[in-house]
Amino acid sequence: MENTANVIEMRHIIKEFDGLRANDDINLTLKKGEILALLGENGAGKSTLMSILSGLLTPTSGKVLVRGQQVRIKNPTVAKDLGIGMVHQHFMLMDSFTVLENIILGHETTKGPKLDFRKAFQQIQELSQRYNLNVDPNKKISEITVAQQQRVEILKVLYRGADIMIFDEPTAVLTPQEITEFIQILKELSKEGKAIILITHKLEEIKRVADRVTVIRSGKSVGTFDVAGVTDNRLAELMVGRHVNMRLDKPLATVGKTILQVNNLQVKNNQGIMALKDLSFNLHAGEILGVAGIDGNGQDELVRALTGLQHVNTGHILINGQEMTNRKVREITEAGVSCIPADRQKYGLIMPFSISDNLALQSYYQAPFSNHHVLHHDVINSHANQLIKQFDIRTTSSSVPVSDLSGGNQQKVIIARELSRNSDLIIAFQPTRGLDVGAIEYIHRQLLQERAKGKAILLISYELDEIMQLSDRIIVLHDGNISGEVMPKTTSDEELGLLMTGVKKEGSSVA
């Protein structure tokens, strides 16, 4: 019924996990040489669908046709042989391996029994020149930037000769300029006849690069549209299933006294390299200060230094005017600092512990939660039940381990714990990472409420939209320095993007 120019047809795909339908009757077609956007919220089933296409999962029912032939993609090797390659959102790379080893793994060239490193090196060089994907094949993954790691992932797919390429949220880690470059790469690839599926939740990117867009919502296909004929607002509604208010109401800030002062801060990272070079800024009560920048420009070290986890080499951190440089974590916490860490499962929560215990993680040693080292579980539990109500954490009981909660509810546990402590300074590091629209809205509203209460909020995020929406002021981190301070009302994505790549404000480019 459809023409044979369809390189991929997925028909009535159903995928169940333990009785839950992650994909519920989804249809999708991909034409040769086109860029198809796959739009949906976190958890809508995009990644599941694409994992089926790349051979990582097998569908419960439904048909997959590649170039008109019905196929059973039972493992990644079959996908590879069909010319399907996927660039995963969480890079599938071996940190201790070289770029070259990562690219050839699973598709190795050998000379006799031996790996032919020289030939592979040449092939990779050719590919990276042809597609303008510069990266040193002999560097280890742990030594290169995130943007370079993404190039490695793209090279991996090209090295396997794929002509159907799937990109899962590829721009999440890139600067505006890098995104522009990336979109250029995508366009060149499609010009060469590659068919591309772009998984994203960023409407703007779809507008810039995609030909058609397929929207899915809670496992079901909502429809496929020509990008030219559909508005942003319509797409957003289709994705979320209700009308979304894309602007947050944000009353004017009433800025109070200085809560956090950072003076000439220098911090070495764990490898002994100076990660923060002479950083100074102030943050006031009732203000949200956004810290923009690309991952790896000192954000981690800034948060770790502020919370006492990383040694400060020189400079000072003052909280409420009090010297807090190189103090113990707990002293800093007690001085009125709350922190929402970027990696909630690694730093924010103890996954096998109950919600109650996780909510008590910062206060278990104080009365009324304990006396003379003896825990009062009744107090801990009633405190937890109160927070569960107040912060709308969806669970059957406070004794449920947090590993059983959804990502959004896990984040709510951290938010509840940190905000309920009534600290003067709230450090929010990537507070909405990987969450769906509803949870993001909720967390943003909570942060604005805290601002209204006169708290000082330091918002460190790699999502420019988030920084622009919430911040009263923005500083941009680049290579351990502040490359500029701007106001959200008067700046633009372009200006921020330049600052993020280290081009100083006021004209003269230093890049």
């Binding site: 990644p76 071996m94 793994l105 699973g106």
Partner: protein, 318 residues
């Protein structure tokens, strides 16, 4: 005793004590590089020791000089079969690697002794009659001094162990198979996305540790203890595990660490025959290998880093 005689005694004894550790720690290196922690090397060695002695006792009269060598192979095969238990438990049945490995250590000694009792009706076996001979390296043995120290009357399995080390190092770092094996210990999910058969690779890793651990146990039994009893393998497997960690999960490193342990052990055993050493109270000589290991580890290595996904189960979603 002249210096050359002393050195050649020390070298040959070091080599004899190192060889079982080299084989076994190499096995550990392969298992853990594939992502399966293997604390059960001790048990695997026990099975290898037991089966090689049984084989040797049974076939020495008909097979003659070659018996101990075939005994190694038999020990390796029995070790491999025994390690299947660990492989199935950890790879298919999601068992905790440490618990499963501990089961091997708990299971092997009683199983072996039970079989000894059931077969021979006593708690330990007779001594074997056919052991490894000593051999002179053709050519190299005639080099003055060095030849005498290193290449005359040497323990042949040791040279096999060194050759195996080099081959295994080469396989691990220079071949497709090695790259894939290491990828499973580093990031099994990523390996899976590029079509590496994670379960298969992990089986190969564990079974290799069974084969080599079995050979290691067989070398120890046939060359050092000469018979099998409950006290034949007491801690050598753990020493091999330590050698593997000490050697940073690299075959060459594991071999060097094994040689060090062998050297330290032989000093404590033959120390009273050596000038200078014979005045040191024996307790210091006995403790030295273990204390020095700790000190070296603290001073020069600090935190040793295992393959990133070592000890983690990989559960493939279907």
């Amino acid at each position: 005793m002249d210096l050359v005689a002393i050195l050649s005694l020390l070298v040959s004894s070091t080599i004899v004590y190192s060889t079982p550790l080299i084989f076994t720690s190499l096995g550990g290196v392969y298992s853990e590089n594939s992502g399966i922690t293997n604390i059960g090397l001790e048990g695997i060695m026990t099975m290898g020791a037991f089966s090689s002695i049984m084989f040797n006792l049974t076939f020495a009269s008909s097979l003659g000089k070659i018996t101990p060598w075939i005994g190694l192979i038999v020990g390796g095969i029995v070790g491999l079969i025994f390690s299947l238990l660990h492989a199935v438990a950890t790879i298919n049945f999601h068992a905790d690697h440490v618990i499963s490995g501990t089961v091997l250590n708990l299971m092997a000694p009683p199983l072996a002794v039970f079989l000894v009792k059931a077969i021979y009706d006593k708690g330990q076996t007779e001594n074997i009659s056919q052991s490894f001979g000593y051999f002179n390296f053709p050519g190299l043995a005639d080099i003055p001094v060095i030849g005498q120290i290193l290449f005359q009357n040497t323990f042949a399995p040791a040279w096999v162990a060194i050759i195996v080390t080099i081959i295994l190092w080469w396989i691990l770092y220079k071949t497709r198979f090695g790259l894939r094996l290491r990828s499973c210990g580093e990031n099994p999910q990523a390996a899976d996305t590029v079509g590496v058969n994670v379960y298969g690779m992990r089986y190969v890793g564990v079974l290799t540790s069974g084969l080599l651990g079995g050979i290691g146990g067989a070398v120890f039994a046939e060359a050092i203890s000469g018979n099998f009893s409950i006290s034949t393998i007491v801690g050598q497997g753990f020493m091999a595990l330590a050698a593997m960690i000490f050697g940073k999960w690299n075959p060459l490193g594991a071999m060097l660490a094994s040689l060090f342990f062998g050297f330290a052990q032989s000093i404590s055993i033959i120390g009273n025959q050596l000038p200078l050493f014979n005045h040191i109270p024996s307790v210091y000589m006995q403790i030295a290998p273990y204390a020095i290991t700790i000190i070296i580890l603290v001073l020069f290595f600090g935190k040793s880093v295992a393959p990133a996904a070592d000890g983690q189960n990989y559960i493939k979603s279907k």
